[in-house]
């Protein structure tokens, strides 16, 4: 015996991405975890900050103010028509940063993975996330991985934190709407919620409806180009358009009057809502935004939005009023007027 431990460094078998599953060792802090991070995450997300392999990322930041947002994603199922939890985790947080009027630059990603998740599914999620981040021009610069026992999670949960920078002149906020302002919506509502609902096992319902999950910072940049003083930018996610408008009405202490006939709803979404007894105004979106602008800017903003692929169907849907403060009212296509309320309770859990 020469005292050596073998024939050089042990050769490690590569992750079995075709048939392997996540097990508890992948979260233990040992070699298996390092291997998972190396072969799956670092290779997919590759960028300078991540490649340093530190427990932190050191970032260059252009002048302006930092805009930060965090969001956790627990959507079920992990893969749905038009997207998956990976792309959603990028789009959702990128959009929250963008709604602050900022250019999103960096993302962090935390994964809570359930023991037993096929590595092939995890890889699909990670690849989708990497592609979405690339498309959005943001870098995933640091992350974390934990594994929980089977039954203590549901496949994978993802948390992302987004960091962006905005120019000092820009300051959209939900409390800045004023009577007379114009409400503009970037496109049809309800696509994401109905797409998810169509996949749920308890609903024998198949609609050719894709989630609208998409990054909106390009559209925001187009709006800011023509109207840096835009008052409010919001993406109507959970709770749908009604929750977003109600929140703005409450925070700005104004009323809102919107016209049902001007709110774009795809016929398939409308039909699904009719069938399920849902109001499209309450159904979630992941790739739409509401812009509230000074009436003098409305024409230019609408034109800029329509010229952008994410805003081709943009429409002016209503105005901000001084009456009925805190409430959103709707002129129905039928000719009546009613309140649009917050959704009480959950329409469907875990849509994002």
């Amino acid at each position: 015996m020469d005292g050596s431990l073998g024939r050089g460094t042990p050769r490690r078998r590569k992750l079995d991405l075709a048939n392997g599953r996540v097990d508890l060792s992948h979260g233990s802090g040992g070699r298996a975890m390092e291997q998972l991070i190396e072969e799956l995450f670092v290779s997919a997300f590759a960028n300078d900050a991540l490649d340093r392999r530190d427990d932190n990322a050191v970032l260059d930041v252009p002048p302006g103010r930092l805009v930060v947002s965090t969001d956790s994603f627990v959507v079920s199922p992990l893969f749905f028509p038009g997207g998956d939890i990976g792309s959603l985790a990028v789009h959702g947080t990128v959009n929250d940063v963008a709604m602050g009027g900022a250019v999103p630059l960096y993302l962090t990603a935390g994964f809570i993975i359930e023991e037993g998740l096929p590595l092939s599914e995890l890889k699909r999620v990670v690849d989708s996330m990497a592609a979405a981040a690339r498309d959005a021009g943001v870098a995933i610069v640091t992350g974390d991985t934990k594994v929980v026992e089977r039954g203590k999670g549901d496949g994978v949960f993802i948390n992302t934190t987004g960091i962006g920078v905005r120019r000092d002149v820009v300051a959209p906020s939900a409390d800045r709407a004023r009577p007379g302002d114009v409400v503009i919506l970037s496109g049809s509502i309800g696509d994401h919620g109905i797409a998810i609902m169509s996949t749920r096992e308890s609903l024998d319902f198949e609609a050719p409806i894709l989630s609208d999950s998409a990054a909106l910072h390009g559209l925001v940049a187009a709006i800011l180009d023509v109207a840096p003083g835009v008052r409010v930018l919001r993406d109507p996610t959970r709770g749908g358009l009604s929750a977003t408008l109600n929140e703005i009405a409450g925070r700005s202490n104004v009323g809102m009057l919107v016209r049902e006939r001007d709110i774009p709803v795809k016929p398939a979404v409308e039909a699904a809502c009719e069938l399920l007894g849902l109001d499209p105004l309450h159904v979630a979106n992941e790739g739409k935004l509401v812009a509230i602008v000074d009436p003098a800017d409305a024409g230019a903003v609408l034109a800029a939005m329509r010229a952008h692929p994410r805003g081709a169907e943009a429409a002016i849907i209503g105005t901000v009023t001084a009456e009925a403060r805190g409430l959103v009212q709707l002129d129905t296509t039928f000719g009546g007027r009613r309140i649009v309320d917050w959704l009480a309770g959950e329409q469907l859990p875990r849509i994002c």
Binding site: S202, E270, A271, E274, T332, G335, R337, R338, G345
Partner: protein, 378 residues
Amino acid sequence: MKYVDEFRDPALAANLAANIRAAVRPDRHYAIMEFCGGHTHAICRYGLEDMLPDNVELVHGPGCPVCVLPAGRLDMAIDMAARYGVILCTYGDMMRVPGRDRRSLLKAKAAGADIRMVYGSLDALRIARQNPGRQVVFFAIGFETTTPTSAAAVKQAEAEGLENFTLFCNHVLTPSAISAILDQPEAGTGKVRVDAFIGPGHVSTIIGAEPYEYFARHYRKPIAVSGFEPLDILQSVLMLVRQLNEGRAEVENQFTRAVVPGGNQKAKALVEEVFELRPEFEWRGLGTIPQSALRLREPFARFDAERRFPVDYQPVADHKACSCGDILRGLKKPADCRIFGTACTPETPLGSCMVSPEGSCAAYYTYGRLRAPERQEA
């Protein structure tokens, strides 16, 4: 959207509203009860009350299945889930209804009970198939519209030999509730006045329009069986105004595109095979009504959750400030309740009428609380 827009045409609506205005006699009041919660919801959602003359009053009836289910029956469902560890499958509307001591299915689920929201009895059957080692209870509620699907689920479970599926039957009967409204002590005192009924649409697709003949003849109340689109309801109001003007009391069918004479024979036969009348059943607001609800017949006893998972029934008094009972009987409007929109909201309902979208209070709160400005939130 095709087949929907046609029934929501603003020009036709204006035309119907004008016809109603032209038809009403200025010297009288028209109190028309829409029995069905679906109608209440549509009336509020489309703002139909604004389109009617002042002397046409819509009185909201008890036809919301979630609203009339007494809290004691809800407690039984919670107890079944908690005590026997069953998978309890329920319509989503039931989740937030308050039971005894403000318990609810939502809270029971959070406390560990296995409670799952489903869209219908067939979803519950599938859950039973997927969980052969677990007992699955379907919390069946509703009027005649949903009863056939419950009957079909029991028959299907029998055919498949699904021994882990049972039904907690709370199905109730529309004609019994109409009787209770017309026979209540306040009926003759002027506190509650109903001149005519907008008859249930979906219920009548099953039972037909014939069961209402008795009310037209015996109580001299005109009835128009109506669809649920706003134009349907306006047309039904016009039909009833004309009947009242002419002193007629007939059953008319506005919903001819769906309600056929005799109803759905196949569905009725299925219900008859699987269910029998209970001697009596407690209704929220209306009290105990004889022969007003259904239970499983003896040959289907093994699919009866009440027999397989016995739990006690204890009547529960409504919250003392809650007016749901009076509202369900047409004695009060939601805005007459002193906790409407203050202590009782859709987020924190004290009464069942505030929970279901078909409940009068929820419909008023969601769509029309501007019309009751004195009750508006600060």
